[in-house]
Symmetry: D2
Amino acid sequence: MGEIKFATGTWIYGTVGDRYLLGGYRQGLDIIERAKLISEIDGVTGIEMIYPADFYVGIDSIGEVLNLSGLDCCIVGVDLTGDPAWRYGSFSSRDEALRRRAVELSLETMDAAATLGADRINIWPGEDGHDYPFQADYSRSWEWFRSCLAEVAGHRPDIKVCVEYKLREPRNRSLVATVCKAALMCRETGMDNVGVTIDVGHSLQAGENIAESIALLDRLDMLYHLHLNDNYRGWDDDMVVGSVHLVELLEMVYALRKTGYDGWYSIDIYPYREDPAAAVGESVRFVKGLLALLDRVGEETIDAALEQDDPIPLLSRIREEILPAPADPPA
Amino acid sequence: MGEIKFATGTWIYGTVGDRYLLGGYRQGLDIIERAKLISEIDGVTGIEMIYPADFYVGIDSIGEVLNLSGLDCCIVGVDLTGDPAWRYGSFSSRDEALRRRAVELSLETMDAAATLGADRINIWPGEDGHDYPFQADYSRSWEWFRSCLAEVAGHRPDIKVCVEYKLREPRNRSLVATVCKAALMCRETGMDNVGVTIDVGHSLQAGENIAESIALLDRLDMLYHLHLNDNYRGWDDDMVVGSVHLVELLEMVYALRKTGYDGWYSIDIYPYREDPAAAVGESVRFVKGLLALLDRVGEETIDAALEQDDPIPLLSRIREEILPAPADPPA
Amino acid sequence: MGEIKFATGTWIYGTVGDRYLLGGYRQGLDIIERAKLISEIDGVTGIEMIYPADFYVGIDSIGEVLNLSGLDCCIVGVDLTGDPAWRYGSFSSRDEALRRRAVELSLETMDAAATLGADRINIWPGEDGHDYPFQADYSRSWEWFRSCLAEVAGHRPDIKVCVEYKLREPRNRSLVATVCKAALMCRETGMDNVGVTIDVGHSLQAGENIAESIALLDRLDMLYHLHLNDNYRGWDDDMVVGSVHLVELLEMVYALRKTGYDGWYSIDIYPYREDPAAAVGESVRFVKGLLALLDRVGEETIDAALEQDDPIPLLSRIREEILPAPADPPA
Amino acid sequence: MGEIKFATGTWIYGTVGDRYLLGGYRQGLDIIERAKLISEIDGVTGIEMIYPADFYVGIDSIGEVLNLSGLDCCIVGVDLTGDPAWRYGSFSSRDEALRRRAVELSLETMDAAATLGADRINIWPGEDGHDYPFQADYSRSWEWFRSCLAEVAGHRPDIKVCVEYKLREPRNRSLVATVCKAALMCRETGMDNVGVTIDVGHSLQAGENIAESIALLDRLDMLYHLHLNDNYRGWDDDMVVGSVHLVELLEMVYALRKTGYDGWYSIDIYPYREDPAAAVGESVRFVKGLLALLDRVGEETIDAALEQDDPIPLLSRIREEILPAPADPPA
């Protein structure tokens, strides 16, 4: 197992707001400054960018600043939510012209990614879905989405297309809502460069066990990208990793190792009120701490424990590591 | 579109209890009496049975009583929760002997169903899943389950195998949790007599839109059976149909019509404190009321509305029917 | 029981956006235009305003336009979320200067309300609460909030102070989260012009039964104001009234009648993608439909039903009204 | 701060089942054996009993076995769910005879508690609430409950009456659902020996922050008893402490220390499939581990951190303790 590579998204230095404070808790920085600041976060060597929003300075300038700052562009996301035109969907819009525009934007994103040396794009179709009952023709929406996705994938077989599922938000119900809905959608394209982005918070919000979602995607060779954050399960709170959960996140890193995931660990948080660098840095350190804990517990110990029905011995072993009793000499 | 056929399950007259009252709010009746009482519920012409629990009097006696009471046996469910042996799973148990026993039980259930004239069995694997993090080898569980399911389906191609998904309960996390997880599992068996049972309450609990789940299964020719009830979304409350929701249930019957579903509408409720016949009868009348409402609104009106993004005109039209203004002359 | 009075908030014509589209799905209109358009919504005779956001044209101009458009100002809300200064709270901020500023703003709001003929202000402290564990000193936060609230109430006994609770959003956890937390807070001020605003969606999100929350507040003489909308229970979706629920909303209007609530029915929705007037108008018509249904069923029928444990007879009676069987002649 | 005292409930050795397995995953033991086994769990010195279920051998025999096994009876719970008579409520039943019976049972429980040397009883009114809309007269239910509770409290001022709130289950909606609803109810009795039992899982299920609920009750001098367990937030899963959460549980023990809680830490779990002693023992060790962690981090460190808005420095400090980096020498 090679070194784990950490990345984060340019949006951590964007104008972070909510529906009650559209002006933002903080003003977004220009993209050059964002890259520079991200490169200074301890442990982060990759950057996740958004097309076209992040590219207004020209792709050459972007390439230069990444070079200078020593950052790898690990993936480029297509922005399918940041324009009111997408309000009723992108790949599944009733409007053929909009579907076309969404495909074109995705193709441009693939090219931009390739130029920056990234081998994959991220498609998070936040506006594809519905808000009200009786608002969508679900079968047709699915077919339109599937067809656009297949077309995008066919454009450049050298670029992987990662579909990021999410239960809801901004639409009340998403078209690509759960890990298995995403997997079905990808499979129905018939393309072999289409897979899934797991976002830890989306998985928690959907009531999934993250490690199980990883294992299922691994069976299908579809685990393409990973977003890390934390939440209270009911919503995509995009909090600092480890601020709420621990055991399930440890199980997640175990699953990532077992399945041989060798992609990026991208910290995708929304630091509404927090310092972005501090929040990302703490997230990275938490994941590194989990990896060290995994080493101390031992993969083979976990493998052996999973041969039994009873979960308590392993939980007990983990507890000994994270919460040593006062009398226990440190390991 | 033919006449809608309503059924209900024998468990409505079982010992209905909860973890705090294992003795039950009411004592279960013998199976002959259950069948008789179910046959007397207005509108109900089908019965859903459980194997082996309901068959202790011998299958001939069951056949006779169904004949006498004029009930069709629409489906037989394999009981994979009512014995502590299944506590860590059935088709996905770590114990090969238990997996074998679960398969055998399913094969017997198929034969019993065929004898009673039913062409399908229901598999609700309530104990397959996990409670704690680090308690399951998810990939192996999936494979064991898939393999057993395929074997069962291969036994009798004339019997359809319906897999009923549920997010959770009794396990904290189910293996077959959502509509698309069920669809993926069924597809991976490679058998064409394996499909999905949608339980309305399970769909609500999983955060799905029921009509969308129906449409997706229809695309895959996998909508095999239907359980009707209602809940507050957070749990499988198994309440009387229509006691909480209306618009989404109307959308559900519209989806069932559009997809040409011609199976049973089986009322699957848990009348903890209510009279079973009254609770099922009211559920049937509610669904019949929805179908009449669908006629009044008109499928073509809905078809046309779904060509538009705006949901309000159709919601408004539905409201005019269910909540006519005092001044409005009745339609 | 007098005529029901409907209002709506000026924000329906504001820049409605979300965290992914801070620029908004639609641009906000100026306040004069908002008032004019609201006055044209059928059935709406009241307007709910926000201080200071809506008052930039001067209070005299506001008064004039309300006069001209025939709108009553029913309540004025203090804006405690629209400025990043409040990001860690207003009345419960650690910063005394900010607490002072929040109090001053509330006092100004009271005066503005009085000038416009409104006898109450609304305090929705969206930023008071916390996001992370270990982020708040809960007891101190409570005390600071209580003390500021008491001070505000003491400023003008002729103006009622309405505290609007909400489980979460924008903070992950709100200080004033549930109906009983709000009631406790109000009671601890010791002031008799402090009460509670029930927002239907907030009540659903908190897992409450709305009618029960109304009944509890009525016992304490604390039901001061009412916001109407709908959602899927997991989040404050601010949807058109009746687009998801019906029976519980009918129970709500029954509870409002029984308790003699004579305040405004204020439609508080967020028409992200919908036409604001259409969405509010449909909401008003839905509530009027509920009131007509209540008349048809009869309060005394409900009173009598509530003497029994069994809920089915009344649910059945309601169903007969909303979903008459085809054979039934219309009432 | 004295030594922390741990207890657990006799139900861990009861017939633990669910609605699909009323016969239980395991058969209950007789009460003498339960006490004996509980006394052997490392770290447990107290027992929580249920009246009348646990007292069939006579109170003298109970007293003897507690004596012999060295267990303190910390509290006795009134069983208001284990008999179908309570199916529509106990203190809030429409049936005066049932309310009377519930009061009498509570008085007997107080006397039994006193005989065993316990100074408090627990009232968890699981059946008080409703399942369906329009099933309860909420104001009357509240008043009946309040009145019975006050009467019980008046019987013996030397015995504390602890009301345990829970959002739901077995009823779909509980009358005493949240910490503040419980506090309001207690306060309305006007008695000063009435307070609240916080069950960690109930608090999580209700969307509360446990430490905040502790702080609020402390303000009212109403934190009377504590039940420890864990869950996934959506349901009262009654899992081993620490199997899901950590940071919020650490915040909880901090809050318990700060408020000077000197009562029992009672492990209230439901070991459906687990060995009861192992599950309770692991829970105790986890809490002891949290207390040791609290010592290492230092209360004063936390106190100081709570003077700031930013949560990250303290989360970072906690992470250093639980997940030390490989390079870090252990503290």
